[in-house]
């Protein structure tokens, strides 16, 4: 397997569960990454149908200089009550990329020491623990990502997250959705976060 597109160091690929309970954490990821001047990217950008979906997902991941993998959903889920393999699968691809390129990947978990049981191949490597909270996600991101310019204060990033949450809830209501996991809501969420970060002076207009 070879990376086919040059990686953009500002793009960060999000490999996270798309369930309603995860929505506030997803919003935090978008807000904080944008506040730090990163481009949040995820598989929602790729149309759900199509035979080359996996190839396009691979290209998207290759195009990102870093990736975040939240392995906190280890339980059985959905009507068939099966475990979800997508996240560990994508982590495997990122591991491969990291072996061949300077791609950086970070693993997050909700609970400490659980990963040792669910994915023992990673034993000896500490995941970032967020405890299922927005503050935990914020702390993880500040541990993982740095900027060449001024790093925004925690207070600024929290404020951005709170306002973005309100905006996304309003957009969800207007579009009759229960969660932000749709392609257009993802784009609009990133646009809203970008606009707020620009208004706060965290990033330049361009």
């Amino acid at each position: 397997v070879r990376a086919t597109v040059p990686a953009d160091q500002q793009s960060a690929f999000l490999n996270v569960p798309f369930d309603r309970e995860y929505s506030p954490l997803f919003v935090t990821l978008i807000a904080v990454l944008t506040g730090l001047g990163r481009k949040p990217r995820c598989v929602l950008e790729i149309p759900a149908a199509g035979r080359d979906r996996l190839d396009r997902m691979f290209e998207l991941l290759c195009g990102c200089g870093s990736s975040l993998h939240d392995l906190s959903r280890v339980s059985l889920s959905g009507p068939l009550q099966v475990p979800r393999f997508n996240m560990p699968f994508e982590l495997g691809i990122a591991y491969c990329l990291g072996k061949q390129t300077d791609h950086r990947f970070f693993v997050m978990e909700e609970r400490a020491y659980r990963l040792q049981a669910s994915l023992s191949d990673l034993n000896g490597l500490d995941p970032h623990i967020h405890e299922g909270t927005q503050e935990g996600i914020l702390a993880c991101l500040l541990d993982c990502f740095g900027t060449l310019g001024r790093t925004p204060a925690v207070k600024e990033l929290k404020s951005l997250t709170i306002r973005l949450s309100r905006i996304i809830l309003r957009l969800q209501r207007e579009q009759s959705r229960n969660d932000p996991f749709s392609p257009h809501l993802f784009r609009q969420s990133v646009e809203a976060a970008t606009e707020l970060a620009r208004l706060d002076g965290l990033i330049a207009k361009g």
């Binding site: 730090l36 950008e45 990947f105 310019g149 784009r187 609009q188 990133v190 646009e191």
Partner: protein, 63 residues
């Protein structure tokens, strides 16, 4: 390869670069701006055109 505690450092992207990366459309932008204004995070857009006085349509008949 890296799976470590070292931070990933990169220069900050601009607002335009972030929007372009996720292919934000003009419609997305309009929808977001509307909500930003409604929630008070952006000021109401000011009217930029000048309202001209209506032309007088009735002819004044000369006596």
């Amino acid at each position: 390869m890296s799976f470590d505690r070292q931070k990933h450092i990169a220069p900050q992207a601009t607002a335009k670069e972030i929007s372009e990366a996720v292919s934000v459309t003009e419609m997305d932008r309009r929808i977001v701006r509307k909500v930003l204004v409604e929630l008070g995070y952006l000021p109401e857009p000011m009217a930029t055109h000048v309202i001209k006085p209506a032309k007088r349509r009735t002819k004044i008949r000369s006596l």
